[in-house]
């Protein structure tokens, strides 16, 4: 039975607005909506370029429109997503703001789909605390009376400190199948075994549970599993001085080593080390597999993608170093 794992990725982005979108966003904080002239048309929301020709549009052609407008087309959203501006059923609508030549796509907070149709007049419901984002307008409401949601709390800003940036955060959860071979490798690791797979065509052995030979492009199944030795030699390594980024878990310099398993052609890449100080890592160092206690949980997303479960890294075996000038070339 194939197992599925969930992995949520939250992406934090900071966008620079540039001259035209910047003005538009600043105007939103002042409860004003701007468009931009292109010939005798007024493009809303405004772009730096004409949407048909790509021609640069002059910033001084930005003009105020709306804030009220007329629904041109709409659809009803009975089941809003977490990214939608409202958490109850609403309409997405193409709204032609007064004075605009193009419609603005935004939400309309109507009680039911029967309340909205082409021609319905709407007005903005402003967020009380506006930060310079398109959702400073929470939604449009039916009628001609603009609203403010909550209390007006937008900080005053001087003309010399305009908003130039915008935050955008999206979180997506992915649910991926775990290849069967990976689960076999993990299960074997509970018994302190390291499994590889031998290609029946070229006889190359692959570690890491990919389930196929990239040279012959054939899939490898359970019948191709082979046991790999638990000792090897460090062929190469990388020592990383961590930089901070969202999700980074490391704070001190850490090492990853490449281990050529004894009597095989198999290199395990980017392996963690145990009881081996960074300063003592060198090419030719002899190492042995280090195992987690059986009661420990598997590391689901570790360096090897959880491929080796209870194999948590490599520690010095105490044997003398090997002096072979070709070792360093064994990265793969």
């Amino acid at each position: 039975m194939t197992r599925f794992v969930e992995n949520s990725i939250t992406f934090p982005y900071k966008r620079s607005l540039g001259p035209v979108i910047g003005r538009f966003m600043n105007a939103l904080t002042e409860r004003r909506i701007l468009g931009i002239r292109s010939g005798d048309r007024v493009i809303v929301p405004p772009l730096e370029w004409d949407p048909h020709t790509g021609a640069e549009l002059p910033v001084d052609g930005m003009v105020e429109v709306g804030p009220n407008g007329t629904v041109e087309s709409w659809t009803w959203v009975p089941d809003p997503s977490e990214q939608h501006p409202l958490d109850h059923p609403f309409a997405f609508a193409l709204i032609r703001l007064d004075g605009a030549s193009t419609p603005l796509l935004h939400a309309v907070d109507a009680a039911s789909p029967h309340m909205i149709s082409a021609g319905t007049r709407v007005a903005p419901r402003w967020r009380g605390n506006r930060v310079g984002r398109i959702d400073d307008i929470v939604a449009f409401v039916i009628g001609e009376a603009a609203e403010v949601e909550g209390t007006e709390a937008t900080p005053e800003r001087g003309a010399d400190e305009p908003i130039t940036m915008m935050d955008y955060n999206a979180s997506i959860t992915y649910r991926n199948p775990v290849p069967l071979v990976l689960d076999r490798l993990r299960e074997a690791s509970r018994e302190e075994r390291i499994l590889g797979q031998r290609c029946p065509v070229c006889a190359r052995v692959y570690a890491g549970g990919r389930g196929y030979c990239p040279i012959d492009a054939v899939e490898l199944g359970e019948e191709h599993d082979v046991d790999l030795p638990h000792s090897g030699t460090i062929t190469n390594f990388t020592i990383v001085t961590p930089v901070q980024y969202p999700g980074q878990t490391e704070t001190e310099p850490f090492a990853r080593v490449f281990v050529l398993l004894d009597g095989t052609d198999v290199v395990l890449p980017y392996q963690p080390v145990i009881e081996l100080p960074v300063a003592e890592i060198k090419v030719g160092k002899r190492v042995a597999a280090a195992w987690a206690p059986p009661e420990d949980e598997f590391d689901e997303g570790g360096t090897m993608g959880g491929a080796y479960g209870h194999l948590i890294g490599w520690m010095p075996s105490g044997e003398p170093d090997i002096d072979d000038p070709d070792l360093v070339n064994r990265i793969f």
Binding site: T75, I172, P179, A217, E219
Partner: protein
Amino acid sequence: MATTGTRGPSTDIAVVGWAQSPMIRRTELSETQLLLRVITDALEPLGLTRADIDFTCLGSCDYITGQAFSFVSNLDAIGAWPPKRDSHVEMDGAWALYEAWLRLQEGDIEIAVVTGSGRSSTGDPALIYPMEMDPFYLAPLGVDPLTFAALQARVLIGAGIADERSMAEVAARSRRDALTNPNAQVAGEFDVDELLAGEYVREPLRRHDLPPITDGAAAMVLATGDRARQLRDRPAYITGFDHRTEGHNPAYRDLTDSPSTRIAAAAADLGAGPVEVAELQAAFTHEELLLRHALGLGDDVVVNRSGGALASNPIMATGLARIGYAADHIFGGGHRALAHSTSGPCLQQNLICILEDESTGANS
């Protein structure tokens, strides 16, 4: 040629085979595994191996996979050792085919394999696809593909190009045709009146107007000139191939039309003769009606005999599969077929590929 700056192909290039994975709601295979199998399935009937491939171009999407550089491991599926002439497009496999078609015209190589692959089951399309929208005005509102489709459907209904009944008829016909397609995920006999009694998912769209969520991959083999004729009877010659885009934000566009489809069709010389079949990447029922309208397809043209994207919709491979089904028509005795692919909200970008049983190339 209708469009300035466009010229005809200089070399005979034909689709000589293709294969697709099972089209299912959720695969247990990795994308690489899907491709391993489907490439082998495309090559073997032709007596080819991966060593015969001169050029590969893969089409896939990081955001569907949820992993930056997700396509890199797919190199394991093409047999890139010794290293292959290779490329990757973050587009449907139909565009990978376009790149291979261009590359083969340079005349120094003979065989190309292209793929499209995607596992849409891994994430929620309603949360992923807003990220392909305008990052300032649309993505922050979470505007999803269903919303855009519904807005365009309403506009088309207003313009008299579609109505809810004709849309339901497209759904019923597609799912009925899909009964004879073993790769269809959704197939069956449906009564149009019963369909119309269903609830709206996004007014005016009902469940039947929507495509399924599909995991799948497709691989296609191209060959030039004499090599194509050696590899199979009735190669499907690509006699016209073009794609065009429109402005991004649907709010700025005339949604009653698909001008990029019309321009691409003219540049691909669709009008040079009649087509017997058309495979259109219409993920929503009203899109088929608009595309038929824009392409000027008469009732004599059999549209989406495969069941189309309404039967199975392996995003990043849906377009390539359309070209595959059109090629099947030529392989099976047909003379001229049209295939279409699309990308972006409200059919922003459209691709037209004309396949024929005889080459019209300059050097045939």
